[in-house]
C-alpha cells in the first residue's frame, strides 16, 4: 500500500494481508499483480469476481492485489473527490455538511448547525482535517 496517512494499525493489517496472501497461495504479490493485469474486466467489483472465479482469491486478498495492480481511483490527497463519491445521497450530504463545520463557526446553543453551514461553504476543498482523528 503506497497510500499515505494510514495508521500504524492499518499498515500492520495490510502487511498481514500480504503475508497471508503469499503464504496461502504460494505466489508473491508481484505474481498476483501480473495475473491481475491480465484481467479483461475494468471495474473493481468485476475484477474481484474475476480473481475469485478464475483464481480463487477472496475479498481481502483480491482487493489488496487490485490496489497494487491498478492503484486507487481516488486518494486521500484529493479529499473533495472522496467526499463527492461518499456523500451522494442529498439527505446524507446535508447531515455531513452540518457536521463538517469549522470549530470557529460551530453553534454554541442547541440550535441546529445546518443553517449556519449550508450557505456559502465549499467544504469539499477541505481535507479530512484534524477532525478525522476524532470522528468518522
Amino acid at each position: 500500500m503506497s497510500e499515505p496517512n494510514l495508521t500504524e494499525r492499518q499498515q500492520k493489517w495490510f502487511a498481514s494481508v500480504q503475508a497471508s496472501l503469499e503464504r496461502n497461495t504460494g505466489k508473491s504479490l508481484a505474481d498476483w499483480v501480473a495475473i491481475a493485469r491480465t484481467c479483461p474486466e475494468t471495474g473493481h467489483r468485476a475484477r474481484l469476481k474475476w480473481l475469485k472465479d478464475n483464481h480463487g482469491l477472496l475479498q481481502n486478498h483480491g482487493s489488496h492485489v487490485l490496489s497494487e495492480a491498478f492503484g486507487s481511483t481516488m486518494s486521500w490527497q484529493e479529499p473533495g473527490k472522496l467526499i463527492e463519491a461518499l456523500w451522494v445521497d442529498p439527505a446524507s450530504r446535508e447531515i455531513f455538511e452540518a457536521i463538517d463545520v469549522p470549530p470557529g463557526r460551530r453553534a454554541k446553543s442547541s440550535r441546529p448547525l445546518a443553517k449556519a453551514t449550508r450557505r456559502g461553504r465549499a467544504r469539499c476543498s477541505s481535507p479530512p482535517r484534524d477532525r478525522s482523528r476524532a470522528a468518522s
Binding site: I95, I99, R106, S110, A114, A134, A135
Partner: protein, 53 residues
C-alpha cells in the same frame, strides 16, 4: 451513523459501537437521521472528541 472518540456515557444519545469498521479509537456512536439532529450537543461531542484525539 457518527463515530466519536468519546466514552459512550458522555451523552445519553451515544451508544457503544458494535462491529463498525472504523478506528478502534472511536468508542461511541450516534445515529443521526436528519440534519435537525445535528445540534449543539453533537457539536459539543465533536469538540470533546477532537480535544482528546
Amino acid at each position: 451513523m457518527l463515530g466519536l472518540a468519546v466514552a459512550p456515557d458522555a451523552n445519553p444519545r451515544l451508544e457503544a459501537p458494535r462491529n463498525e469498521s472504523w478506528s478502534e479509537r472511536l468508542k461511541a456512536r450516534v445515529l443521526i437521521s436528519g440534519v435537525s439532529e445535528v445540534d449543539g450537543e453533537i457539536a459539543a461531542l465533536l469538540k470533546a472528541a477532537w480535544e482528546r484525539s
